[in-house]
C-alpha cells in the first residue's frame, strides 16, 4: 500500500506543479513506483511540464465517470521504465465536475499499485482544493519567501490541520540568495517561525527550471542545477533519510564541486 502526498499552496504561481513533477521524477529516479495526479481540472499543465502532453488520451474525469478504466488513463513516462506514471486532469471540464469522494476512491486505487501517489493541487481553497486533499495521507505546502505567499500558506495549513492529514510539511521554493543576503525577502527562519510546521526542503531559484519546464523535462534530471539537488534532497527526506539543508550562499566554484560530486568534473 503506497502513500498519497498532496502538493498545495493556496497561492498560485509558487511552483506546485514544478514541485510535483520534480519530486515525482526524483522518487522514480530513486527506484520508487510513482503516480502523479493532476487535479487542476480545466487548467491542467502537469502533462506539459513532464513533456507528456501529446500522449494524453483519457483523464481524471473520464475515470471518475466510468468512461475508461483507471489503467487506460495513466500516461507512462518512458524515460523511467515502469516507474513513473501520470493521471492527467480534464481540460474541458471544471472543478465542480468531480467530487472529493470520487478523487478519494481513485487515489485509493492508485495506492494499491504505486509506492507514492503525488497529487498536484490547484491554487485556491475551494472545490479544487477539497478534491485534491480528499485522498491524501500527507501534505507538502509550497511557499515562496514572499509575504503574500506565506499568508496563503498559513491559511492552507490551517485548513489542512482540520482534516485527517494533520500538520503538513513545508517546502520553501524559489529562494534567491542575492535578495536574501540583502534582506529584501523573508529568510527561511522567519517563514518557519510564522508557519510553525516542519521544513522538508528549501529550493533555490534557478532560471533553468523554466527552460526545463518548457522542454518538458523536469529539472531534477539535470544534476548540474542547484534546484535539482534541492528536489532530490526533498525526495530523499520523503523516503525517511536525514539530509542536511543545502547552503544557500553560492560559493565560488560550487558548480565544479557539484560536477565532481556526480563524477563529471
Amino acid at each position: 500500500m503506497g502513500e498519497a502526498i498532496v502538493i498545495t499552496s493556496g497561492k498560485g504561481g509558487v511552483g506546485k506543479t514544478t514541485t510535483t513533477a520534480n519530486l515525482g521524477t526524483a522518487l522514480a529516479m530513486l527506484g520508487k513506483k510513482v503516480c502523479l495526479v493532476d487535479t487542476d481540472i480545466g487548467l491542467r499543465n502537469l502533462d506539459v511540464v513532464l513533456g507528456l502532453e501529446n500522449r494524453v488520451i483519457y483523464d481524471l474525469i473520464d475515470v471518475a465517470e466510468g468512461r475508461c478504466r483507471l489503467g487506460q488513463a495513466l500516461v507512462k513516462d518512458k524515460r523511467f521504465e515502469d516507474l513513473l506514471y501520470m493521471l492527467p486532469a480534464a481540460q474541458t471540464k471544471d472543478k465542480n465536475d468531480i467530487t472529493p469522494d470520487q478523487v478519494k476512491s481513485i487515489v485509493e486505487e492508485l495506492k494499491r499499485d504505486f509506492d507514492y501517489v503525488i497529487i498536484d493541487c490547484p491554487a485556491g481553497i475551494e472545490q479544487g482544493f477539497r478534491n485534491a486533499v480528499a485522498g491524501a495521507d500527507k501534505a507538502i505546502v509550497v511557499t515562496t519567501p514572499e509575504t503574500a505567499a506565506v499568508r496563503d500558506a498559513d491559511r492552507v495549513i490551517g485548513l489542512l490541520e482540520q482534516t485527517s492529514i494533520g500538520s503538513p510539511k513545508l517546502l520553501i521554493n524559489r529562494i534567491r540568495p542575492s535578495l536574501l543576503k540583502r534582506g529584501e525577502i523573508l529568510d527561511v527562519d522567519e517563514v518557519c517561525q510564522v508557519l510553525a510546521i516542519d521544513l522538508i526542503g528549501i529550493v533555490p531559484d534557478d532560471e533553468t527550471v523554466i527552460k526545463h519546464a518548457n522542454q518538458g523535462e523536469p529539472i531534477v534530471m539535470n544534476p548540474q542545477s542547484r534546484a535539482a539537488i534541492a528536489y532530490r534532497n526533498v525526495a530523499r527526506r520523503i523516503l525517511g533519510e536525514t539530509v542536511p539543508l543545502m547552503p544557500l550562499e553560492e560559493k565560488e566554484g560550487f558548480m565544479r564541486k557539484v560536477r565532481k560530486l556526480f563524477g563529471m568534473g
Binding site: R151, D152, D154, I157, G158, Q193, V194, A196
Partner: protein, 220 residues
C-alpha cells in the same frame, strides 16, 4: 476629562435615540445632556419626536430616570418613550469573576478564536488570524494578527503578548494599528491597555500600576 462624547444623539426611523455613556460619572453625564440639548434645542423644535434613551450598562433607579425625563422634557416636543438600561437585565459579570479559557495552538490566517471571558492562548496568532473575547487576552507566544479584548465594551480590558507584533489591536471599540499610534519596544512581554480612550503599550512589569488587583503580596 477627555474629549469623548458622553451623549450621542442618533436619528432613527421613528424618532431619536439618545445613547448615554455608561462609564463616566452621573453628574457629568447629566451636564452634557443638558448642554447638548441647549445647543441643539432650536433644531429640535417642531412636531413631537419620540425619544428612546439608552443607558448601556449603567444601572439607574427611578430617581435617575425621573431626572433624565425632566431634562429632556424641558423641550416640549421631545417625548421620552423609554429609558433602557442593560443593567436592568442580568448585570454584566465584573472582570474578576469572568472565566479564564485556556486554548493552545496556532491561530492561523482566516481563523478566529472567540471566548466569553478571559483568554489564555498558548501559541501564536498569525497575520490574518483573530482572537476575541469579552475580558482580557493573554498570549504566551507571538501576536501577529488581530486581538480584540473587552469586545462587549470593557474599556479596562488588556491584551498581553510575549511578542507584540500585531496587525491590529482592539480594546472595547478602540482600534489601533502599529506603528502609527505606538511602537513596540521589543523588550519582552508587553501589554496593551486604554488610557483615556487611547491605546498604550507598556512592559508587563508595569501592569500593577494600571491594575491594583495584580499586586502581589510580598513576603515578610
Amino acid at each position: 476629562m477627555s474629549g469623548k462624547t458622553l451623549v450621542t444623539i442618533k436619528g432613527v426611523k421613528d424618532g431619536l435615540v439618545f445613547v448615554l455613556d455608561d462609564r463616566c460619572d452621573w453628574e457629568s453625564l447629566l451636564k452634557e445632556l443638558e448642554d447638548k440639548l441647549a445647543r441643539h434645542g432650536q433644531q429640535l423644535s417642531g412636531p413631537a419626536i419620540q425619544v428612546r434613551v439608552r443607558l448601556g450598562r449603567r444601572p439607574v433607579d427611578e430617581d435617575g430616570k425621573r431626572k433624565i425625563r425632566e431634562i429632556i422634557g424641558r423641550y416640549g416636543n421631545l417625548l421620552v418613550e423609554s429609558i433602557e438600561s442593560a443593567a436592568d437585565g442580568p448585570p454584566a459579570a465584573p472582570r474578576d469573576t469572568l472565566p479564564l479559557y485556556r486554548v493552545s495552538g496556532i491561530v492561523r490566517s482566516g481563523q478566529t478564536v472567540e471566548r466569553d471571558g478571559h483568554l489564555l492562548l498558548l501559541g501564536d496568532v498569525n497575520p490574518g488570524g483573530t482572537v476575541r473575547c469579552t475580558g482580557d487576552i493573554y498570549i504566551l507566544g507571538a501576536l501577529r494578527g488581530i486581538a480584540h479584548a473587552g469586545c462587549e465594551g470593557d474599556t479596562g480590558a488588556i491584551i498581553a503578548a510575549s511578542l507584540m507584533m500585531p496587525m491590529q489591536l482592539r480594546i472595547a471599540d478602540v482600534i489601533s494599528r502599529p506603528p502609527e499610534e505606538w511602537v513596540s519596544e521589543d523588550s519582552g512581554m508587553e501589554f496593551a491597555y486604554l488610557r483615556d480612550g487611547v491605546m498604550e503599550i507598556d512592559r508587563i512589569t508595569r501592569l500593577h500600576r494600571f491594575r491594583e488587583e495584580a499586586t502581589l503580596s510580598k513576603g515578610v
